[in-house]
Subunit: 179 residues, 2 copies
Amino acid sequence: MAHINVPEGVPGIRSLVMFRPETGKPLYDLAQVLLRGESTLTPAERELIAAYVSKRNECMFCMSSHAAASRSLYKDERNMVDEVLHDMQHSSVSDKMKALLNIAGKVQILGNKVTQEDINEARKYDATDKEIHDTVLIAATFSMYNRYVDGLASWAPTDAAVYDEMGDRLAEKGYVTPK
Amino acid sequence: MAHINVPEGVPGIRSLVMFRPETGKPLYDLAQVLLRGESTLTPAERELIAAYVSKRNECMFCMSSHAAASRSLYKDERNMVDEVLHDMQHSSVSDKMKALLNIAGKVQILGNKVTQEDINEARKYDATDKEIHDTVLIAATFSMYNRYVDGLASWAPTDAAVYDEMGDRLAEKGYVTPK
């Protein structure tokens, strides 16, 4: 049971946003612009960064839902998501994405862990300022969502089919504030 | 120097928000509603939670600016801010605030570190659902801002007088997106 009195049967962050819509709106607006707004990183790639950080933060709800969204968006390459979550360095994801995921992993530990060498490695594969910015902000943002969802012990479904459906919905409709 | 090409001489998060205003808007909207919106926790108390979490995340810029904002808002009790940052458990802050700061400290580590006992302790001092919610979200949110500011190595002034002025401005005007 959640630590506070949120609507029953509503999973994860949705229940918290229904409890406090005033803070929910900027939280959803942020996810929408960051994961679906204009960017040279695809929504599939951005969802993968979100899932990777959520796994490292041990947030089962966020990891499962964003991995499902990433799989849905990657379509034929959907297996890559599980490869990255299992062992990023030996996965079939591009070298550029490996460099960006490495930066995201550093941010997940703490902001000051990102080194000039980490940035240089991403530049080697032509990562732009905006791509580096968005990678850092996605990793920072999920370090927030993960703590919010688990810090209040919100409900996380355990049925994989629920996440598949959620992933398809997030892939298609993006982040729409729940009513 | 920052890891990406942001406006020179603009400190911390402001330089990042000028680089990417699309994400800056929800980031500032979130800070404004969470730290200045309607709440039974005073803005001084909420800024103190922000400073406490930022110190634990080793983010000098956020710690200094939000400690300054909290001091400015606490007015005659301004010394309490430094007591809390030095040794929270032995500071002169209220027992209720100690219980909430303890929850914030757990969230700073990871969401799943918050225990039922931590929540019960806050309830003993009549902390409401909304106060517990906002404490967890402030701690989560600063675990994001801290990572964003340091992950991109944005510029942090070292002159204490700069932060005093910043604190007074944040106390008076709140969080207004930079132009």
